[in-house]
């Protein structure tokens, strides 16, 4: 029964372009879907796209031709500004790692930022359906976060984990953890 609680889909959104990063099976599924649809590879970073139009017109009975200027736009790299990796550990009431009823699952969401940093980073993760969030179990880089929407970065209403990391200055990994109990 445990696999149906896998995986939660976690989101990491950044201020400028709401890039969403999913993890685990969802990511693999997306990759398969792209391959199946024969989606074209993305334009390589650094590619210069040039637009030029040809024109012609009639003057004094003659058709004359010309060409416009060349407008260009450079394709930016798509290397992720950040990535999010989700992992889990299970601890059953009997002390084993069996996903039995009453077991506690600890999820870890590790957000890794590129050297350029990021602005307005937010991690969101719905509490997996059917599980119960353990109040007060949220941490950020090992420090406890309260569930209330208050002064600290995290809040959880029992259904959605939300941790506002704010502006991230440089290459760094920030890790959020929270726990749920299996029914």
């Amino acid at each position: 029964m445990f696999p149906r609680f896998l995986p939660g889909t976690a989101f990491l959104s950044l201020d400028r372009r709401l890039r969403r990063h999913t993890i685990g099976r969802h990511l693999a599924w997306l990759a398969v879907a792209c391959a199946a649809s024969g989606a074209q590879a993305q334009t390589a970073p650094g590619t210069v796209i040039t637009n030029v139009a040809d024109y012609s017109y009639v003057l004094d009975g003659d058709r004359r031709q010309g060409r416009t200027n060349a407008a260009t736009i450079t394709v930016e790299g798509t290397e992720a500004a950040a990535s999010l990796v989700k992992s889990q550990t299970v601890r059953a009431p009997d002390g084993s790692a069996t996903p039995a009823s009453g077991a506690v699952v600890t999820y870890a969401l590790a957000a890794t930022f590129a050297a350029a940093g990021a602005r307005g980073a937010v991690i969101e993760d719905p509490v997996p359906a059917g599980t119960s969030y353990l109040p007060g179990s949220m941490t950020l880089d090992g420090a406890a976060l309260s569930d209330a929407a208050d002064g600290d970065a995290g809040d959880c209403d029992g259904r959605l984990i939300r941790v506002a990391l704010g502006d991230v200055a440089a290459a760094v990994t920030r890790t959020v953890t929270f726990q749920v109990r299996l029914p």
Partner: protein, 151 residues
Amino acid sequence: MRSNALITLLLVAAAAAPVSAAEPLRLETRILAEKRVAAADGTTRVALSPATRAGPGDPVVVEVRYRNVGRQSLGGVVIANPVPRDLAYRAPRTGPAPELSVDGRSFGPIASLRVGNRAATLADVTHVRWRLSDPVTAGGGGEFAFQAVVR
């Protein structure tokens, strides 16, 4: 003497050349990107501005403006814009919808175009073309634009 005359003739020809070659129809193309602009009241609106960079998947607008800077009306104006390979055509943006082509030779609405033995899609479009039905009068002009997305 003779060579001097020849040189004079060449100089006159060189000076005259730009005048005779003056293009009465001026065209300019630009690539624009949509940018969200935050207003003081907290709302955002989408503004178009010339762009130098865009990422794969980003929408862009390709614009062609034309103006008759000559003294005579110009008839039969045709503007043919090959769609850059790394852009995918999406929709008309400004002015009448262009005719579309998937081979640069035959043009028409997308529903009339085929690639091999299948119906063409907008991603297959390789060229767009605008044909002006009315002459462009002296001093007149206008613009066309289409939406595309970076592949």
